[in-house]
Amino acid sequence: MQIPRNALDRDPERLVRDYADLVLRVCYTYLRSTADAEDVCQDTLVKLLLREEPFHDPGHERAWVVRVAANACRNLLRDRGAHPAVGLDDVPEPAAAQTPGEDALRRRDERVLDTVMALPLPQREAVYLHYYEGYPTREVARIVGATDAAVRQRLSRARASLRDDLKGDYDDFPA
């Protein structure tokens, strides 16, 4: 098998530029909080820096970062007794530029985010990896250590929950 071994550089600036916000979103998805994101980011990027095996391509590297950060978050959840320490009401909202006239949309976006973040973790991580990161379900399955069928089931259940909880706010739901 001929595999390209184009060594992706491990320049600290690039690693932070490419992956810091990614890890932040992973943390937010798993922990419902960004409080530990910087520590998780540190550990993840140090592991990336010290990893000796090359990556196939940027996509391979990115998936690796997602997996390592997700595992770190899972470990934190285990350390906390498998329950997040931060309640939903305490979840910080993402910082977004707010302009006049967008209040209604903004409130709706916040409600959607709250609804997604209230999903069980397996569904939440599947929604994040599939709909935000754009991974196909088979790749999501590999990252989370589940079967493709299980991931599809989680996405289906997540969409059903969103459909029920946000009925009236939206007309267009993915099947």
Binding site: Q42, A82, V116, A150, D172
Partner: protein, 379 residues
């Protein structure tokens, strides 16, 4: 925006670290890189020097922490390896006893499975549940590992509605990471082989790709699981066990992989194909090929449509059929695989999968890739 998922992705896109935080992290990462470089340049006889480095470096708390992490990891590399977490207790099972549900139970197959597979016996206990890796069998890129999950509570499995054959719809998070493997896929089966005991059986059957094609035989495998869940008939998830199970073992089994001649060319859906590598074993088949075509990634939201999947099949759908001596065949077209795009417009596709039964490699007649039949006798 018309979809709540559009709204969700927009909100997530707004999440970001501050520039100050990013600068702080970059600075700390540079410190970690310096520690790594210093370790590489250190005398081999003084690996412990790595541990003294953080104390010499005047840095802010985060930077010190990064250096400490880097030094710790570097020391781990110096020390190398690691022992199996748990040791075998009692009599280890024959591989066929715990893997025959996957690879068939005919006497000849039992004998083969015992020849190829190896017992493991590594276990971990958490919250009254003991997970034991019982046995492993595999080849260069495929493996099957059988685990037992024993509940201390004799009533733990009461009230569970099993499917036909004692199977359950597994939705847990059991994960086995094999050193060197960078992608792969397969199946996980959860079932109750003996309704009279307090033990369930879990089997992972996977085909993997490694970053340097080195194979997985002899590599260290690390199993982790935090929950064992099933999908219940009422549509909900039922948690059978939650805890923290981590165990480690070696991928020690007899590798029967036979490399077949490669380099043949053919076409698939109008695109030129070069067969890079083909290998068969008692358990499975591996095929790598390069096709002069690239299809779009199915990575963007909303693009995983039937049309997009059909388009992807023009690259990864090259048929792979294994023919056995008794005239039966095994279709490996939809095997676990990976696809890597190259700068010259081609795509390298790797496929690996196990059969549904174990065979003697002498009983494998050929592998047909596209319209190219490659006889095993030519190996």
């Amino acid at each position: 925006m018309t979809s709540p998922l559009d709204s969700y992705t927009a909100s997530m896109g707004d999440l970001h670290f501050s520039d100050e935080a990013k600068a702080r992290m970059a600075e700390s990462l540079r410190a970690a890189a310096a520690a790594r470089d210093a370790e590489k340049n250190a005398q081999p006889a003084a690996p412990a020097e790595v541990l003294t480095m953080p104390a010499r470096r005047p840095a802010r708390p985060h930077a010190r922490r990064w250096v400490r992490v880097a030094a710790g990891l570097a020391l781990a590399l110096v020390l190398g390896g690691g022992a199996t977490v748990a040791v075998a207790v009692g009599v280890l099972p024959n591989p066929a006893d715990v893997l025959s549900d996957v690879f068939g139970g005919a006497p000849s197959q039992t004998e083969l499975l015992n020849d190829v597979g190896r017992p493991i016996g590594a276990s971990a206990t958490s919250n009254g549940v003991t997970v034991t890796a019982e046995a492993v069998a595999g080849d260069r890129f495929n493996y099957a590992v059988a685990y037992s999950i024993e509940f201390d509570d004799p009533a733990a499995l009461e009230g569970i509605e099993f499917h036909e054959g004692g199977t359950l719809t597994y939705v847990g998070d059991a994960f086995l990471r094999v050193d060197g493997a960078m992608s792969g896929g397969g199946l996980v089966r959860l079932y109750d082989a003996d309704p009279g005991d307090n033990t369930l059986q879990l089997v992972q059957v996977m085909g993997v790709q490694t970053w340097n094609d080195a194979g997985i035989v002899g590599r260290t495998a690390r199993f982790s699981m935090s929950k064992l869940e099933i999908y219940a008939d009422d549509g909900g998830f039922k948690t059978l066990a939650a805890g923290n199970w981590n165990l480690k073992f070696e991928m020690n089994y007899v590798d029967t992989t036979v490399d077949l001649p490669a380099g043949q060319t053919t076409t698939w859906q109008g695109s030129a194909v070069t067969i890079d590598a083909v290998a068969v074993s008692s358990l499975g088949v591996t095929v790598d090929y390069t096709i002069d075509r690239q299809t779009r990634d199915l990575a963007l939201p909303g693009e995983v449509s039937d049309e997009a999947l059909e388009e992807q099949a023009t690259t990864i759908g090259l048929p792979v059929i294994v023919t056995f001596a008794d005239g039966t065949t095994f279709d490996a077209t939809d095997a676990n695989g990976s696809a890597v795009k190259h700068g010259d417009g081609t795509t390298t596709v790797s496929k690996a999968t196990t059969y549904d039964h174990i065979v003697d490699t002498d009983d494998i007649v050929s592998v047909t890739v596209g319209d190219v039949e490659i006889p095993v006798s030519a190996a």
